[in-house]
Symmetry: D2
Subunit: 149 residues, 4 copies
């Protein structure tokens, strides 16, 4: 188990209307979409795809264990910043940590911490998917290196 801290990676976007619920706030499950959107963006920033679409040697990253804790509500049109860190790179899995901050605008200051979460994902080659078993394999060396960049 190699543990290290990659440089922080983040993205901002406004809360959409469809992400709210009748309590007037963002539905709690939407935060898992925010995490995954940022995970996908992180992979793209490394020149990869979170889901190798059928190409030879492609990998997918099904979730193994996820959590989120909620510190304060966010509302429609609030600007939310999602920050990702690579918390752990294991033999066959990665742990991404997330922090969510409400910001004063699209280019403004972070104002309030909203939530914290985690996605543990496993490395599964695309060809395994067809077999209807999601067996994790060792993460290829080239991918491990990209995570450290």
């Amino acid at each position: 188990m190699i543990a290290f801290m990659a440089s922080e990676f983040s993205r901002r976007r406004r809360i959409e209307f469809a992400e709210t619920d009748m309590a007037g706030i963002v539905h709690f499950a939407a935060f898992f979409r925010f995490m995954e959107e940022t995970e996908a963006l992180f992979w793209r920033s490394r020149g990869c795809s979170m889901f190798g679409r059928g190409e030879e040697g492609g990998y997918g990253w099904p979730k193994v264990r996820v959590f989120c804790e909620y510190l304060a509500p966010v509302y429609f049109e609030d600007v939310l910043e999602t920050r990702l860190v690579v918390e752990k790179v294991g033999e066959r899995s990665i742990v991404f940590g997330f922090r969510f901050w409400k910001c004063s605008g699209e280019s403004g200051e972070p104002e309030k911490e909203i939530a914290r979460g985690e996605l543990k994902v496993a490395c599964v080659p695309m060809e395994r998917r067809a077999e209807r078993e999601l067996k994790a394999v060792p993460i290829p060396k080239e991918l491990k290196e990209k995570l450290r960049e």
Copy 2:
């Protein structure tokens, strides 16, 4: 173009919390999920699947054109009945019509019409999907017969 009216097919379920938005009502896009859920149930009632998972001769039914009009709002925990009719069976497509009624309870009377909608779906063999083109083919005779049952 063969046009006919199949006997009405329906299902009821309660509105879930995650289906509401900050206006306190069901989000308009949720009605398309209600339609598709009923479409899938309709196919199962005919001994088929709406999405033939890879098996030889399987078909998928991508949407070609859809609409919904909204007559009255529905709320969390309301019982909604979705009624499906096969409006048209064309050479390569089917039009399903939907009516939505709020009911006085899980086994109660329909009380108020909530919405009307339509899904036009095309017949696409599973093997075509891989080619990244969704070309519709003539609906097989056995499936057409199932629609008439």
Copy 3:
């Protein structure tokens, strides 16, 4: 009924993983979220909010009738451009028209038309919402002017 064409308004973003379905393409209902996201952005560009949160004189815009037709599939990580035009401004409602284009990259050329849709929305004052009736009122003059900008 006043009909006019506002200058086109658009936004681009990548398709997220959670927006796909097991057919490997974007789920058809996601296009209604794309339309609403662009509608909200349009209102913000006019200095308003699509959902006046409780403030005096605020308005919401529940959907009255919506449709979408699908010309070609889009995939995970494709860049989709959503173009909005104000098609009609009626006494109590607005019709927004949408066209969806797949683009060759975040700053690249539009490549292929993917879908077309429409949202007809009604003007409902926030205080009416509490009464559990969504009665539309005449669109205030100041808002009509903002639509023409």
Copy 4:
């Protein structure tokens, strides 16, 4: 902190098409909707609502901390059973535990454990919601009794 085990509570339903993603399996975030749907059903079985809609003395239960771990994938049209137990009743919060089982049919045997999860929810009176602060209060005695039934 009072800890106890309520009798298990469960519900079954089929996986819907819109709940799958391009990996061909149920999207991981959908499990949080399954948990919440079962939580809402649990409250109804106790004669309450998970979201007291404005009535005097009503309570909402925003999530404080949630997690899910995934043991095996589930697919479109699989029958999934969600089992809820009241794990802990605290002064101001409740922990619901969940286990997910794939079943051989709508009235068939549980076949395979799919996932485990947890929702920790806080007791917030409806009138507090308007103040845009979600401060938890002690759970009223009548509600605590209902949880024990």
